[in-house]
Amino acid sequence: MSAAACGGDSHRQTDTQRDDFGDPIHFGTPPQRIVSLSPATTEILFTIGAGSRLVGRSRYDLWPDSARLVPDLGDGMRPNVEAVLGARPDLVVLYASQDNRNAADRFRAAGINTLALKMDHIAHFRRVTALLGAMLHDSARAQTVIDSVERTLDSVRRATTGVPRPTVFWHIWDSPLITIGSGSFMSELVEIAGARNVYADINGASGQIALEDVARRDPDFILAGPEGARQINADPRWRIVRAARNGRIIVVDTGMVARPSVRLGEAAVSLAKALHPGLLQ
């Protein structure tokens, strides 16, 4: 089922599956000591019942609460290789960014099964969950998690079909001003929740933009985390944007909405409720 993300691969049974650095994935005995270096994979591992096998996480993996009890090994990008090896893992899961290539090579050289995975789209969540489920020899539970997230997303999608679609602007960072492009699951979430991302024309996951261009695109709503919303309200320059002037700022829980993980459904519901009050009961 994980081959679905690769798009209709007819050799799915015979080909060796590869991770996003192009290295083969080993499905041997289930891992007993896992280090997960990104919040999304940590959340998935806990939800599919492998939380007790985690022996290390990145410093930003704080959900669910029990994740806080797993030893913090520092940054998930350019991780401290020595600290990870010291946790004696038999599986390391990390984000497939160029920054992590050296670390991944070193883990493999030390004989540790290593999985470098992209986590940018909702499709990636399905693929990663299915992969981790297969590695843990518990595909059934992984499929249950995938299905329940899918069902929630579908119900939100159905509820928002046919309603007028407001435009939204994702405020990610203030200085420089960074927003979300169509290469991110956060743009997909906005579409599912019945709105349009004013910067869907940015192909990457994110992009740097100018405040006056935000004003020109004139979004109906601004989506921001608590800190971002505070900055927008405090900064007089933002008054050139109509939505900011009229206080149409939706404060989102960045810990929930900013991760392509098991809480995608919950995130879509909360966005849809904020954008279309009274639509979902």
């Binding site: 913090d72 290789v81 600290a83 090896l85 010291g86």
Partner: protein, 329 residues
């Protein structure tokens, strides 16, 4: 001022060995001393072997080599250019190396070896551009030493501006990688990398030591050197190119590590050294010790988070330098 005694060499070497041993024995993961010795011989726990032999040991060696290169390069340049502010990065090497690495990134290079090579080539290219600019600016075929200094600064400034333009619209992930590189780090040390750096140091550094007498004469001033029968232009360019070669090799190996090449030669001079052969060697030893100590601090002070090595070298080096300064005056 006291003179340099021969036994100082022993002290300097002992310091380097001692700090290196501490660095191999210390890290984010506590490994008992007995297990460290076993791990070095490839015995015992495979995790300890991987940590000690494949992570810490090559890292300590690379740090020492980077320091030695920067110290030697700085000492030679300050002598040849007769300028106490000269340092290995002054001549556009660092900026050129950064441009080389960024171009490699932009062309989609992912292999470590390609990016290292690109930054090395970029650093050397910048030095040749600086030499050409100095010739044009000096309105002759002769690259005047003062013009050379200005040309190096200008080429460096241009390269830095190009980097900033390239990074302004890069994705956050690439910026992070580039930033790490600009702050300097020995974290990606491997035996291959240390081997290449050792080879370039041996060749270029050996040549610098061999031609050190020429730098002695150059440091008297160009006119004095010329009247003593030295081909000033050739000798200057040779010292300049060899120093730049070493600097480019260190930048390719560990990114930009400032301050060491600037200040360590002053520390070596404060120990009473004047002739450039011992001065270059002593600067290499002191700088190697400083960088190994700084890298040890960078990876242990806030473990498991790593601090930028380039900042730590300055934080450790400045007080050291000030103490020396007090003793001189």
């Amino acid at each position: 001022m006291k003179g340099f005694r021969d036994w100082y060499w022993l002290v300097l070497a002992a310091l380097l060995v001692a700090i290196s041993l501490v660095a191999v024995a210390t890290g984010a993961v506590a490994v008992p001393l007995g297990n460290i010795l076993d791990a070095l011989r490839g015995r015992g726990d495979p995790t300890a072997i991987a940590i000690v032999r494949d992570l810490r040991f090559p890292r300590v060696v690379l740090g020492a080599l980077v320091g030695a290169g920067l110290g030697a390069s700085g000492a030679a340049l300050q002598g040849a250019l007769r300028n106490p502010l000269a340092e290995p990065y002054l001549l556009g090497v660092s900026g050129g190396a950064a441009v080389g690495a960024v171009i490699a990134f932009a062309l989609g290079a992912t292999s470590d070896a390609v990016i290292t090579l690109a930054s090395f080539v970029g650093g050397i290219a910048a030095v040749f551009v600086a030499l050409a600019v100095a010739r044009v600016g000096g309105r002759s075929t002769r690259a005047d030493m003062r013009t050379l200094l200005i040309a190096g600064v200008i080429v460096g400034a241009f390269a830095n501006a190009a980097i900033m333009v390239a990074l302004a619209n890069a994705s956050p992930n690439n910026i992070r990688g580039a930033l790490w590189w600009m702050m300097g780090s020995a974290v990606d040390a491997t035996w291959t990398r240390a081997g290449w750096l050792a080879l370039s140091l041996l060749l270029a550094g050996g040549a610098l030591v061999y031609f050190a007498r020429e730098i002695d004469v150059l440091s008297l001033g160009e006119d004095a050197a010329a009247s003593l029968g030295v081909d000033v232009e050739r000798a200057g360019r040779r010292a300049f190119l060899l120093s730049a070669l070493i600097a480019a090799a260190t930048v390719a190996a560990a990114g930009l590590i400032g301050f060491v090449g600037l200040v360590v030669p002053h520390i070596a001079r404060a120990m009473g050294l004047r002739a450039h052969r011992p001065l270059i060697l002593a600067s290499a030893l002191v700088a190697a010790t400083l960088v190994v100590a700084a890298d040890l601090a960078a990876r242990t002070v806030d473990a498991p988070t790593e601090l930028p090595l380039g900042a730590i070298t300055a934080l450790l080096g400045v007080p050291f330098f000030l103490i020396q300064l007090r003793r001189i005056t």
